[in-house]
Amino acid sequence: MSFFQCRRFQFFDLERVDRDLSIKENLKGYEIQCGASGRGRIFLGDSEGYVHSISRQLDALTLGRTHPNGIIQMQQMKQSAILATLGVDAPDVFCVKFWDENLLDIEASKSQLLLKKEIKLSRTVAPTCFAVHENLQLLCVGFSDGLLQLYRGEVTRNRNLKLRTLMFNGDHGKFTGLFFKALDLSVILFASSTQSVFSFDVTNKDREAKIQGDNPGCNLNCSCYTDGASEDHFIVGRSDAVYCYTHEGKGPCYGFDGDKHMLHYFRGYLLIITNISIENCSMTVFDCNNKFVAFSSNISMAEPIRVAAGEWGCLFLITSDGSVWQLKEKDWQTKMGVFYKKNHYDLAIKVAKSNNIDADGMADIFRLYGDHLYAKGDLDGAIRQYCKTVGKLEASYVVRQYLDASRIMNLLEYLEVVHSTGYATPDLTTLLLNCLTKLKLHDKIEHYVQDPSCHFLEPETAIQVFRRGGMSKQAYKLAEKHHLYGSALQILLEDIKDPSREEVYNILEKIVLDQNADAEAILKRFGNSLVHLVGQVDSRSDGWKKIVRLLCESPAKRDLVELFIGRKEILIPLLENICQEFQTNDGPLMNLLLEAYLIQWSASNMADEGESEGDSAVNEKILALLSKAPNCQSWDWARALFACKKAGYTRGEIIAYEKKGLHNDLLAIRYADAQKTPSSWTCFIETCRKYARSKPSLWKDAFYLITLPTNESSQNQEVSQCPEAIVEEILSKLLEENLMEPLPIIDRLCKTRIKLGSVRSFLTKVLDRKDIEEDEKTCKKLQEETSAVRRHIENIRNKPSLFQGSRCNACQQKLDFPSVHFLCLHSFHQQCFDSFAEDERQCPVCWSKNKNILGPELPEIKLNRAALDADFKMKLGTAKSNAFSVLADFFSKGIFRDEQVRQNHPSGSRKFVEKLKTYQPQVEEVKTEGRLRLKEGTKSGFSKPASVTVTSIESYLESVKPETESARDFGARMTATAPALSSSMPFPRVQVSGSGSVTQPAKSNIGSLKASQKSNEQKVIVESTTVHRSIAEAAASTTTRASTGKNMNPFEDEEDTSNPFLSSVPAQKSSNPFEEDDDYDSSLNPFAE
């Protein structure tokens, strides 16, 4: 009845093997007594002592007679090709024989077992069973009278054998089974008799001992040994059950009742054959590992089964008459199919495990089991199975099922397993966390968040989920745990309303210190929020300092600067840090720092008027920065200057000007400074001395500065006047270096409050100079020449001219009629003139000379103005020393002239006359001014101002030439200083234009006017007069006059307009090359507006 309690399956097919005929023939009617198998062959022994073998092809072969009177038992050695037989050689003579199998395969047809050795038993009592240990050192024989003998020695050689009797006759009956068991250190002999079961320790010679004994025993063939199974058992089949013994004692037992006929163990299965009746027996195959019946059947057999041999994956059963039955195991899929069909998933799993199925196969079974349980409604059980499929089965398969059923707890269980095994995907993580939040399992969440062993594969996802779920703190902790400081910072700044500063600092610290973190990107990303946060913090707190320090440690600090503009409390330390170890391209940053300092400086200045401590500290910092910053290539002085100027930081300005080489601006500052504090005058003059060495014109600037007329507003204040010594020095320098002509100096000095006393020495020096006399001489000479020319003209006009030339000036032949005579007293043959002259109104001889003077109007220049411009630029660029002469040269060529005027001569000039009239009021003004100045001039004792003026032009030109500055720069300087000075300048045009300086002083002194006029006129019309070249050029540069003088008779002009040179005053407005100069680089002077 106990059979019904085991689950049973039919995993074997029992069939009779048809090719058994040959065995039967070979048997010749004798009975099979025993058998042995292993090593790919089944041996059978019959009652006549013949041994038969069955090969894999189920071919039977008789191998010869081993024991003449029958074989009792045989054993196949597993580790060596030896077959051991126990048989009857003669009545009452029993032998154990060892046969060599090695030769069996060579000649299959004639195969014979080769006898190796035989041991003749000493007793005449019939033995029932025997066992040979695999090491071939032990042989045990059990006898029918209950005696047990043990041979020790080399049994296969029958040498030195020691015989020992383990058991003497007793009531335990005949022995039915003997098995050796080799343990690590000992050898156990299991023995079963009909009444008892024993085990002996036979490890040591002469110390064999019985370990245990149990009742009752079993029949022949009803004991076996489970070799190779996980736990070795000696199995004994009794009528009530099958008992297992281990070397430690009794083991489990299986409740199969019935009269046992045979037990055989094979590949984890136990075959139990039970006699039901004489002809019928029941056959059961029991799976010892998984505890189920794999096969059971009742069969009727005419002859009893004598041999069971497991070979070639099958179990062969051979009856005494030689019939062969085969138990064939079904294939794996079939077995599993049966399990599934019967819903024995647990068994399927067990069997699969014991069969070492791979993980994929297992997962499949688990999934099927899970599906089955799910279908049954056992969701808890199902999920447990699904959990085992993690990693093999697509997670969505499970998730979907449990989403449908909304069994969130189960889902959670599954997801947790998924996560703990590391197969989580972002989606699953999201799902898990959503489950946790939904179920409000805060402990679990905390566990996931805090436990360092719980690592999310993609923590970013988890963080996102937490954030979306409003669990910022958890998200934050998670981010921190996974070292995602960027995310952590983001959470702090964006999610947590009022984050603790400490936390922010910590995170920042980590970001900055963590090598892996992309600090730059993170800080850039959150910089703004950070700044916002920072804005709420008291800048004197420790945390504040910490944050600053952290930022300073950041590798990306340069990029961070822009974030903190407007937050000087953080910007300044940051920049300071950067500037400590600046790189070449940090110039802008240092500029920035300077500006920040200046803001600070002006703020503190505003706060307390006096010089506070903080102020001076800032001061020092600025100065230090200014001294250091220029090492940096990209440092921008202009910017620094602008900043200083804006902040009113004079010291900075001074340094900037010095560095930038704007010495005159520096001077201006010094001057302004000196005006406030008298002690600074020394500074002022020092500056002059220092830089004037390389740039003497600085003295001139200084002069202009000290002679600046005090304006209305400053008049009210107490202004310190320039000390006399300084004035003297400047004036003397001016004179020494020939920087200025004395006349404009004096002119300027007249306008200031400078006392005469301080100018005295200067005046005397000027008056002592000899060049006045030279000038006078020149003047005189020129006057004479002019009057000579005048006379000549007069003569030509009013007196008859006598043409006495007798030779043609062209061919030098004697003059013939017809002839052409010019007033210049050149005469030509008509023929010569026609061929020689280019213009019939011009004397060909004089024409070449006149051409030089009238150059600007030449047609080829008119043609190619663009080329001229280019030429001008080129020459100006190359001309360093004589820039002004180049300028003047081109001026004379009319490059600066208005195109229209030049093209329409007559109308242009007429227009010009009209223009003159409109300018009349200004002219009048200048006139009066000139008169006033004339008075002053006479007062000062100038007898010949005109000559002074002429030389002043010369000297001015001379002074310009050595200037290292290019002509362009010169122009720039002019325009730059002009507006600043013009308002209070007594004669601004002197500065602006060379020609102006000629005319105005001329106007101012009527006495010298005519002389001046004459000298200029000469240059226009008279070729023969030699005039100083520079004067000629300067005069020629007066475009307007050149144009008027060309077409009209200059001497008529004189009558028309009282002073032809008045025209030059307005005219130069349009012709002044400097006023319209586009090339001026405003960057040179940042304050030029």
């Binding site: 106990s2 309690q5 689950r7 024993f198 320790d201 001992a209 019985k210 009530d240 009794k250 037992c253």
Partner: protein, 212 residues
């Protein structure tokens, strides 16, 4: 694995009270809700530590059904301890305790430590046998009592270990003859004070095994 002592246990009780589950929980630390009926006797082993000594527990888990009673009886003799299990949700299993106890007392050696176990304590809602009743029964029969749950593993370890402790104490007191393996106690290979072969061997031992 080496051990100081080997104790043999037997678990007895009516069918379905959870004997196999107790064993499984103790040896494998898992619970199998659906368990096949035990056919005959199953077997489990686990090492525990008592008093700093390694002790191997060999546990025979017997079939509760009446049909196997004769088989299980043969296992009493070699056991040093017995867990007598009943189901607190089934009164009849409690009522049968006397029969089991008699059986055990009759077939085992007198020193066997018996622990009474009321299993399935997790199913408190379906309880039929009060804990007090179990305690009273245990006191009357000189047993140790404990309620366990093989499902939640509550008290399972304790049940086995307390029994082992009791046996160990008895060994210390000299109540058990540790050299007689019929008592279900075996001394580990390296701990044996005398040669294990000495008590056995010779015709005397075969005589001894023959009797009883």
């Amino acid at each position: 694995m080496s051990y100081a002592y080997l104790f043999k246990y037997i678990i007895i009780g009516d069918t379905g009270v959870g004997k196999s589950c107790l064993l499984l929980q103790f040896t494998d630390k898992r619970f199998q809700p659906v368990h096949d009926l035990t056919i005959g006797v199953e077997f489990g082993a686990r090492m525990i530590t008592i008093d700093g000594k390694q002790i191997k527990l060999q546990i025979w888990d017997t079939a509760g059904q009446e049909a196997f009673r004769s088989i299980t009886r043969s296992y009493y003799r070699g056991a040093a301890g017995a867990l007598l299990v009943y189901d607190i949700t089934r009164r009849d299993t409690f009522n049968h305790l006397t029969t089991w106890l008699e059986d055990a007392r009759q077939h085992s050696n007198s020193n066997m430590v018996i622990m009474l176990i009321g299993n399935k304590s997790d199913l408190d809602a379906r309880r039929e046998v009060k804990k007090e009743e179990g305690e009273v029964f245990a006191r009357e029969h000189g047993l140790i009592f404990m309620e366990t749950s093989a499902k939640t593993a509550a008290n399972v370890e304790e049940a086995f270990i307390n029994t082992a402790k009791e046996i160990y104490e008895k060994i210390q007191e000299g109540v058990f003859d540790i050299n007689n393996e019929a008592n279900g106690i075996k001394i580990g290979p390296q701990h044996s004070p005398t040669n294990p072969q000495s008590p056995a061997g010779g015709p005397g031992s075969s005589q001894g095994s023959g009797c009883c």
